[in-house]
């Protein structure tokens, strides 16, 4: 790693100040993407600002029909939370399916969402549930937040502080993951609220997480696996790498979407 200065602010104001004073500062949460990146010398920030010591970025609560999760809350905490299990069991299951036990003890929901790795699990839940991303300066709909590969609508120095999930009638998640990297090759998050259905895909998109309007329309009319059996996905918009070709991913999306809908309220992990 190139040298940097480590900061551990106790408030958002302190974090903002550390960012503005740094030459090329960046935020650190669980560090399970950032530290491996720094070890490979793919980035050379002057300052790392650890946001996990900021109390208002921690915790899980139910308020005003939303499930509100502080950005620095770890995957393990989301997984084990009785509130999350009661309100959105598929979200708890998704958190419990990330990486491995030790990774889940460190990685955070805000870090994963702000990083927008095309293979990360959380972006599909944030987009698939139509969550609102709260930052230190504004609120953004998930449809506006995710912009491209590792890119979000965050401005320089903008801190994701919380994510508010509307509570759906049904949510489900099916993922097909690489047993080596434990990242999703394809994963599909489906939610249904009234007659509105959202289907979000991660692991596959050449521009990161994305929605499938055709699948949403079909499932809005008829929330059964049969309703999407005839639909296909265009491989042109998909990633091709050593794990899977774009064509294989296109087929996996179809299969994972069907399997997700087959088991409402559950998460399934295939490898």
């Amino acid at each position: 790693m190139y040298p940097f200065t480590y900061h551990r602010p106790k408030t958002i104001a302190e974090a903002q100040q550390a960012f503005s004073e740094g030459m090329d500062a960046t935020f650190l949460s669980g560090g399970h993407t950032l530290l491996p990146t720094l070890k490979q010398r793919l980035a050379a920030p002057s300052d790392l600002i650890d946001v996990t010591g900021i109390p208002e970025m921690q915790g899980i609560e139910e308020a005003g029909g939303f499930l509100k999760i502080g950005a620095a809350t770890t995957h393990d905490t989301v997984f084990a939370s009785p509130i999350v299990r009661r309100l959105i069991p598929a979200l708890s299951g998704l958190a419990g399916s990330i990486g491995d036990r030790h990774v889940r003890h460190r990685g955070t929901i805000g870090g994963s969402t702000a990083n927008n790795d095309p293979s990360a699990d959380y972006p599909s839940a944030v987009l698939g549930l139509g969550a609102t991303v709260i930052t230190d300066r504004r609120e953004m709909a998930s449809d506006d937040f995710f912009v491209g590969l590792y890119e979000t609508a965050r401005e320089p120095g903008e801190i994701v502080t919380r994510i508010d999930f509307p509570v759906p009638d049904i949510a489900c998640y099916a993922k097909f993951r690489s047993p080596a990297s434990r990242y999703s090759i394809v994963a599909v998050f489906v939610s249904k609220t009234g007659s509105a259905v959202r289907v979000a895909v991660t692991g596959a998109g050449a521009s990161g997480v994305f929605r499938l309007p055709e699948f949403e329309e079909a499932l809005s009319a008829d929330f059964r696996p049969e309703a999407i059996a005839h639909l296909t996905v265009d491989p042109d918009m998909l990633l091709s790498d050593m794990s899977a070709t774009a064509e294989y991913r296109a087929d996996l999306i179809r299969v994972m979407a069907r399997r997700a809908v087959e088991k409402p309220g559950q998460i399934q992990s295939f490898k």
Binding site: M1, Y2, P3, F4, T5, Y6, R8, L28, G31, H32, L35, P36, L38, K39, L48, D50, T52, A80, G99, D100, R101, H102, V103, H105, R106, S181, R182
Partner: protein, 171 residues
């Protein structure tokens, strides 16, 4: 540079280190606690697992500053009063290691699993929860057996793996 203080295996330590020092580097190079092993250095293999405030973590992917003020336990701190931890004994009894390189991480991960997993420990749970620890020589059968045996001893429960009752060790 920063003055970093933490408790390691019950002892308060303070050292002046670079901010970019990893927890594993601090343990091995500054404190000379070389039981924690650096395997892959990419958060995959789990050889470097330690406990931070009782919670398992891969110490190759934690900055020393992130562990400042906390209580860290390494494999050297697991035995108490000259008596091996039940999982250390079980690893010996069930021949759960060959070359031994991954063993400190396996034992720290298994000990935390036994101490904190809220439900019943059975073979499926142990295999799923130990997924972040790789062994490249023995395979996992005897590691799983050792964790189940130590888990039953520590928790005062019956062993749920029937092959353990007869001390069967076939692969």
């Amino acid at each position: 540079m920063a003055l970093i203080s933490m408790t390691v295996n019950g002892v308060q330590v303070s050292q002046e280190v670079d901010d970019s020092t990893l927890l594993i580097e601090f343990l091995r190079e500054k404190l000379k606690l070389t039981g924690t092993h650096m395997g892959c250095d990419t958060t995959q293999c789990g050889c470097c697992v330690v406990h931070i405030d009782g919670v398992s973590a891969k110490s190759c992917t934690v900055l020393v500053g992130q562990a400042a003020g906390r209580s860290v336990t390494t494999i050297e701190g697991l035995a108490k009063g000259g008596e091996l931890h039940p999982l250390q004994k079980a690893f010996r009894e069930h021949h759960a290691l060959q070359c031994g390189f991954c063993t400190p991480g396996q034992i720290m991960a298994g000990a935390e699993l036994i101490a904190t997993y809220p439900g019943e420990l059975n073979e499926h749970v142990v295999r799923e929860e130990m997924e972040g620890n790789l062994c490249r020589c023995t395979g996992y059968h005897n590691i799983v057996r050792a964790i189940l045996a130590a888990g039953a001893e520590i928790r005062g429960t019956k062993i749920t793996d029937p092959t353990l009752a007869s001390h069967s060790v076939e692969g």
